[in-house]
Symmetry: C2
Subunit: 433 residues, 2 copies
C-alpha cells in the first residue's frame, strides 16, 4: 500500500495514474486475429477445435440443451436460487424505470420531429468460466436485455474439461431470460458471435467481461467489423472518499472486496483525516489476515493508495480527474459531495452502501467503465440494449416553413440536388393551390 499525506497538486498526475498495461498487446492481437480468420473460414468446426485445445472440452453440440439446463437447475441450492431471484427482481425494477418515453416536438410550424427507443434484435453476452462462476454478470446483462425487448439473447460461456457448464451459470441464464446458450469461451466465442457460424447467429452487440484474449477479440470485432460493444475494458477499481466520521473497518472491507477481483485491481482512499487513514491501514492488515486468497489480495493492495488531501473540494477534484469505476462516498454529507461528481461509473452513498451491494443486488448495473473511461462511457444500462431512431413529418405547411432555409444552406454547401428535392415539393404545392 502506498500512503501519501497532503501531496501537492504537481504530484497528482503520478497518483492518478493506473499501472495497468494497455489493453492491446501485439502478441495477443496477432493470436486473436488468427482466431477470427479461422472461425470465419471454418465456423463451428473451428470453435470446437479451439475449445478442445484450450479447455479439453469435447461436446457434440456447442449449444447447451434445455435438458442440460433442467439438470443444472436441480443442482442449484434453494438459498442460492432465492438470492438470484431477489437480485434479478431488484435489477429488473431499476432497469424497467429507465425505459425512455417517446419524444415528440413540433420544431417549426408543420415540422414534427420524433425520437423512439427500439431494442437491438440480437445481442451476445460473454460470461467467463474459471474458478469464480460469475452468474451475477448474467443477471446484469440478461435482465436489461429482456426488459429492452431484445428478440435473441445469446450467451457464450466456456465448459469445463468435462464438457459441462457451471450449474449456477445455466440457472441464472434461465432466470435472466437468455434465449440461446453456447458452451464456448475465449476469443473463438467472441469471433463466433461477431461473425456468425452454422449454429451461432451473428449478434449485433457484444457485452461482458473476460481475459485479455476475450477483450482483444471484442475490440477487434469493433475495429474490423463495426460490431457494437458495451465498453472498453480494464482492471476493476474502487475509490473511497471518507471523512473523519467514517468507520475504518468499513473502508478496509471495501478495499479488500476490490483486491479480491484480481492482482491488477486498484483501490484508492481519499480522506481529509489523517487519523482515519492510519486506522484504515491497520484495519486492512487485520481483516486481510483472516480472509482466503491473501496472497493475491496482498499483490493487488501493493498498488493501492491511501491519500490524505486538505479538503473535500480537493478530494472532489482528485476523484473527477481519476473518474473511478466505483466511487464510495462514506461521509456524513454524501449527497452534497455526490452532486459534485462529474465522472464515475456507479456511486455508493453513505456508510451503509458497500460496493458489494451494487455488485450483486441493489439493482444498479455492475458492468461499469474502468480505467478512466467513465469520462465518456456509461455503465451498462437499459440504453445499452437499445438504439434510438428519429422520425420527421413535414406537412405542406412544413415545406413552406423550411424551404428557404434548406435551399439556402444546400446551395451554400454546393449540394444543388438537395436544394432541388425541397424546391420540387414547393413547386408541387404552388401548382396545387
Amino acid at each position: 500500500m502506498e500512503i501519501h499525506l497532503l501531496p501537492r497538486r504537481e504530484q497528482w498526475s503520478k497518483l492518478l495514474s493506473r499501472d495497468a498495461v494497455a489493453s492491446v498487446h501485439d502478441e495477443t492481437a496477432r493470436i486473436v486475429s488468427e482466431v477470427f480468420d479461422t472461425v470465419a473460414q471454418n465456423g463451428d468446426a473451428a470453435v470446437r477445435e479451439y475449445e478442445r485445445k484450450f479447455t479439453g472440452a469435447i461436446r457434440t453440440s456447442l449449444k447447451v440443451s434445455e435438458a442440460e439446463i433442467d439438470e443444472a437447475e436441480s443442482l442449484v441450492e434453494v438459498q442460492l436460487r432465492e438470492a438470484i431471484a431477489g437480485a434479478a427482481a431488484n435489477i429488473a425494477s431499476f432497469h424497467s424505470a429507465q425505459v425512455m418515453q417517446p419524444v415528440e416536438v413540433e420544431t417549426a410550424p408543420g415540422v414534427m420531429c420524433m425520437q423512439r427507443q427500439l431494442p437491438i434484435d440480437t445481442v451476445g453476452l460473454y460470461v467467463p468460466g474459471g474458478n469464480s462462476p460469475l452468474f451475477s454478470t448474467i443477471l446484469m446483462l440478461g435482465v436489461p436485455a429482456r426488459i429492452a425487448g431484445c428478440r435473441r439473447v445469446i450467451m457464450a460461456t466456456p465448459a469445463g474439461p468435462d464438457g459441462k457448464v457451471n450449474p449456477a451459470i445455466l440457472y441464472a441464464a434461465r432466470v435472466a431470460g437468455v434465449t440461446d446458450i453456447y458452451a464456448m469461451g475465449g476469443a473463438q466465442a467472441v469471433a463466433a458471435m461477431a461473425i456468425g457460424t452454422e449454429s451461432v447467429p451473428r449478434v449485433h452487440k457484444i457485452f461482458g467481461p473476460g481475459n485479455r484474449f476475450v477483450m482483444e477479440a471484442k475490440q477487434l470485432a469493433c475495429y474490423r467489423r463495426g460490431t457494437a460493444l458495451d465498453m472498453p475494458a480494464g482492471p476493476s477499481e474502487v475509490m473511497v472518499i471518507a471523512d473523519r466520521d467514517a468507520d475504518p473497518a468499513f473502508i478496509a472491507s471495501d478495499f479488500l472486496s476490490q483486491a479480491e477481483h484480481g492482482p491488477d485491481s486498484q483501490s484508492i482512499l481519499l480522506t481529509d483525516s489523517a487519523e482515519v487513514l492510519e486506522a484504515t491501514v491497520k484495519e486492512i492488515e487485520r481483516q486481510l489476515a483472516v480472509l482466503p486468497r491473501g496472497d493475491m489480495m496482498g499483490k493487488s493492495l501493493e498498488h493501492s493508495r491511501l491519500i490524505q488531501l486538505s479538503s473535500m473540494s480537493e478530494i472532489l477534484d482528485f476523484a473527477n480527474a481519476y473518474a473511478p469505476e466505483h466511487l464510495i462516498i462514506n461521509t456524513v454529507d454524501a449527497d452534497s459531495i455526490a452532486a459534485g461528481v462529474k465522472s464515475a461509473g456507479s456511486v455508493f452513498l453513505g456508510p451503509w452502501s458497500s460496493e458489494s451491494a451494487g455488485d450483486y443486488a441493489s439493482g444498479t448495473n455492475h458492468t461499469l467503465p474502468t480505467s478512466g473511461y467513465a469520462v465518456a462511457y456509461s455503465g451498462v444500462n437499459l440504453d445499452s440494449f437499445c438504439k434510438k431512431i428519429t422520425y420527421q413529418r413535414l406537412t405542406p405547411e412544413g415545406v413552406r416553413t423550411l424551404a428557404k432555409t434548406v435551399m439556402t444552406m444546400a446551395k451554400a454547401e454546393g449540394l444543388e440536388a438537395h436544394s432541388r428535392a425541397m424546391e420540387i415539393r414547393q413547386e408541387a404545392l404552388q401548382k396545387s393551390c
Copy 2:
C-alpha cells in the same frame, strides 16, 4: 441503375449487400498508425508539418483566433446567416426535448437507486474541408454538445492552402457554441485530439465525418486508446419506400440528393407498384440532365437499385434487413409502416418530408449510422454528448434487506471479501441495537 422486379427471397442477400469496401485498409491503417506515433512524439510541430505537407497551409498557430472568426462572420451573407440561425433553432428545439429526467427507484425497502445524465467534459468535432464546406454538420454536432453542457467543444477543420478556414464554417461554429477551433485536418487532427498536444486538449469523445484517413484515425483511437466515437462510418445511403400514390418526381429528387454525396452513395427504391418504378427511372434521367455534378452522380446511380416487391409487408422485411441510414416512407399510410420499422437511422414520413429537410433543418440529427450499423447504433442525439451515472444509497434497513442475498451470491462466486463487506455492516448494526 439496377432494376429488380419481384425478386424471390433467395435472391435478397445480393440485393441487400453494400458494395462499399471495408473501412479498414491495411495501407491506410499503416499510414494512420505512423501519424499517431509522430503526433504522440512531436505534438503541435508534427501536426503543423503534416498540414504543410498535405494542404500547403502554413500557420503560426493551429488555433483559430477570435479575430479570424470575427472577420469570417462579416464575409457570410445575411441570407445564409439567417438560414443557419433557423436551422440551429430547430436542432436546439428537438435536442433540448431529449434531456433525460433523473431516474429514482426504491428497489427494495431501504435501497434507493438513481440514474442521472451528465455531460462529457471535452468533446472533439471533426469537420471536413474540401469543396463542400459542411457547416450543417457543425450545427448537428455543436448545438447538442452545448445543450448537453459540455464544457469544452473543440472543432478541427483543415485550412485551405492560404491558411484560412472557410468563413461559413467559422460562423456556424460560433453559432453552435464551439469553444475552440483548430485549423487542422486529416488523421493528424484526429490524432491530436485523441492524444492531446501543447495547444490541443485531449478530448474524451470524437465526432464527425471525414475521408478514409480520418475514419481510420477515429477507429484506431478507439481501438488503441479507448477514445469514444460517435459511430463507425460508411458511405451515405437512402432507402425510399413508395406506394402507387407516390410522385415519381419526388422519389427521383431524393435519389439524386443521395447520389450527390459521392460516387459510393447508394439509393434503393422499394415499391409494390411497377408503374411508379418505371416512372421513377424516367424521372431520374430527366432530372439528372439539368443538375451539375452529373458525372459523379451517374457513377453513384450505377449501384443504386429500384426493386419491386409484392407487398408492403415484404417491403418492411427488406427494409429491416437492410437497416438504412435514411428511410423515406413516401406512402399514404406512412405512420403505420413506420411502426413496423425496426432498424434505421432517421425516418422521413410522407411525401413532403425530403431527406434534405432532415439533412439541414427539421431538427433531427443528420449524423446517422450507415452500412447497416443502425441495427445496433443510434444516430447522434443528446445522449451522444452525455454519460449516465448510477447511484445507490442503502439505509440500515437496506442492509438488513439485502445482506442475505449479497452474502449468498458472493460466497457462491467464491468472493469472501465481498460477502464480508456486507457482513461487517450488518454486525455494526446489530451491535448498535
